[in-house]
């Protein structure tokens, strides 16, 4: 990858998956009682810290060259720097966890909440303190929304934990449902966007699609936009943006081409069904324009480049798209490839300025492109 000259200040990458070298790296952040619960007195393996069921990818989930000599892909900052940050002139990478992203898929809500706390502390200590280019996400265990809200407020002063991250959905309710509102209240109170990452329903918690449970990874992965559709429609219909007018929402890794036709349909439905949701005061497309951002990867591959641009134009994508690499995953988008697919006059916005707006950053909040890893 090489950095685009179109963005002299350096780019902002909104989806970089940071992993762990080992379980022990995280265990030290769990309270002693939970460590005892995990390690236990009995012989045999400990209680797993991470959900690994889901759908197997026959090629594996990570780019082959991203594995360090020890630990999982994405767990070595020096390698991440060499392969991603420096070649792309990334001045800010928002970290979004590896398999730990699926903490909300765990059956035990108390353990999940303890793990989420440990993951956030581990991120701050191991990653944010090591490199000023990195920003963190507050991962929350959605099983217990009130506990999740407490966890968000616990980091009120930690400005480098820049968003609240929702991964799996442990309930049958999409994320707009009032059961989740304590999370959004805390996010708004502490000035952070909500980010929903792909897989937010279909990893560990069937049903994986609206029509039934997928059998293969190719089905589940193809249909990830369906989960984002469900959550987005739910946010708007439940009036989340009316209840929390300051709320910003980021959809990560669920594509962008489907948004225009979904919003056309949603607007049409609202015109006839407003009576059911009279708290909505605007067209769904207007809520989208005011409150929602979308990451680039994986950018849908239209037969002709201009077809995709046309579709994206309908959602005002030059203001809504934020660059994401998805490093170190198998389907990561190369930055040069992305730049070649988008109009040149979108690049400064998509690769930098839109994310600044989403996160409320000024130029002074971002390191210069020359900044390099300082630790690890």
């Amino acid at each position: 990858m090489s950095g685009p000259a179109a963005v002299p200040g350096g780019v902002i990458d909104c989806d970089v998956h940071h992993g762990r070298r080992s379980d022990s790296e995280l265990l030290e952040y769990l309270p002693q009682a939970w460590r005892e619960y995990v390690l236990g007195p009995a012989p045999g393996p400990p209680v797993p810290l991470t959900l690994r069921d889901g759908y197997p990818n026959p090629h594996g989930f990570m780019r082959r060259e991203t594995y360090p000599s020890e630990g999982e892909a994405g767990s070595d900052l020096a390698l991440m720097d060499e392969q991603l940050l420096r070649p792309t002139d990334t001045v800010r990478a928002v970290l979004t966890y590896g398999d730990d992203l699926h903490v909300s898929g765990l059956h035990n809500p108390y353990f999940a909440s303890a793990l989420a706390r440990a993951l956030n502390d581990w991120t701050i200590d191991h990653w944010l303190s090591a490199d000023e280019r990195l920003a963190g996400s507050i991962i929350v265990a959605c099983q217990l929304p009130d506990e999740a809200a407490k966890e968000i407020r616990r980091h009120s002063e930690e400005s480098r934990m820049v968003q609240v991250l929702l991964g799996d959905n442990p309930t049958k309710h999409p994320f707009g449902h009032p059961v989740f509102h304590p999370i959004y209240e805390a996010a708004v109170e502490t000035g952070r966007p909500i980010a929903i990452h792909a897989g937010a329903s279909d990893w560990a918690n069937p049903p994986s699609t609206g029509g039934g449970t997928a059998s293969t990874y190719i089905e589940a992965h193809t249909l990830w936009p369906q989960t984002a559709m469900t959550h987005l429609v739910s946010f708007v219909a439940h009036g989340v943006f009316e209840k929390f007018p300051e709320l910003r929402l980021l959809l990560i890794e669920t594509g962008a081409a489907w948004l225009a036709p979904l919003l056309w349909r949603f607007d049409a439905e609202y015109r006839g069904l407003r009576r059911e949701v009279p708290w909505m005061r605007r067209l769904p497309s207007e809520y989208f324009a005011r409150h929602v951002w979308v990451t680039t990867q994986p950018l849908e591959l239209s037969p002709r480049r201009e077809q995709m641009i046309e579709l994206l134009s309908w959602i005002g994508a030059d203001d809504k798209l934020v660059y994401s690499s998805d490093y170190p995953h198998w389907d990561a988008d190369d930055l040069d490839y992305l730049c070649a697919r988008l109009p040149r006059d979108w690049l400064a916005k998509v690769l930098r300025e839109n994310a600044m707006r989403l996160y409320g950053w000024s130029e002074a909040d971002l390191p210069a492109p020359a900044a390099r890893a300082t630790g690890e």
Binding site: G239, E242, R271, R275, P278, W279
Partner: protein, 116 residues
């Protein structure tokens, strides 16, 4: 503008929509809280017979999950796709860019006159 006599005031009972011919147009006339309203019987969406739909007070909300009625706001919903219009302005509740054609109405000597 021409005034069209569409009948005696008793022909337009409170809360009901009567569709009458006014020149070459079909016009719906109704009385809501003692006030007369008139509108063309054509929905701006797909030209459906909007005045054959449902006349109700406006359903509204002060917060998500709540429901309230605003009696002072008469709303007609098209029977085809449910588009709702506030009779006072003619505007669609969901999108002010769309509106029913409405007409001024007055009563003279017990007769209802619609100004077309």
């Amino acid at each position: 503008v021409s005034s069209q006599d569409v009948g005696p005031v008793e022909a337009f009972p409170e809360g009901e929509v009567r569709v009458v011919s006014a020149g070459r147009r079909e016009v719906g006339v109704t009385c809501w809280l003692g006030q007369l309203y008139a509108m063309r019987n054509v929905c701006p969406h797909q030209r459906g017979p909007v005045c054959r739909g449902w006349l109700t007070p406006r359903l509204t909300a002060t917060a998500p999950g709540t429901m309230e009625l605003r009696d002072e706001a008469p709303v007609i919903a098209c029977p085809w796709h449910g588009w709702e219009f506030d009779l006072r302005s003619g505007r669609a509740l969901s999108d002010e860019r769309y509106a029913l054609r409405t007409y001024p109405v007055r009563v003279e000597n017990g007769r209802v006159l619609v100004e077309l």
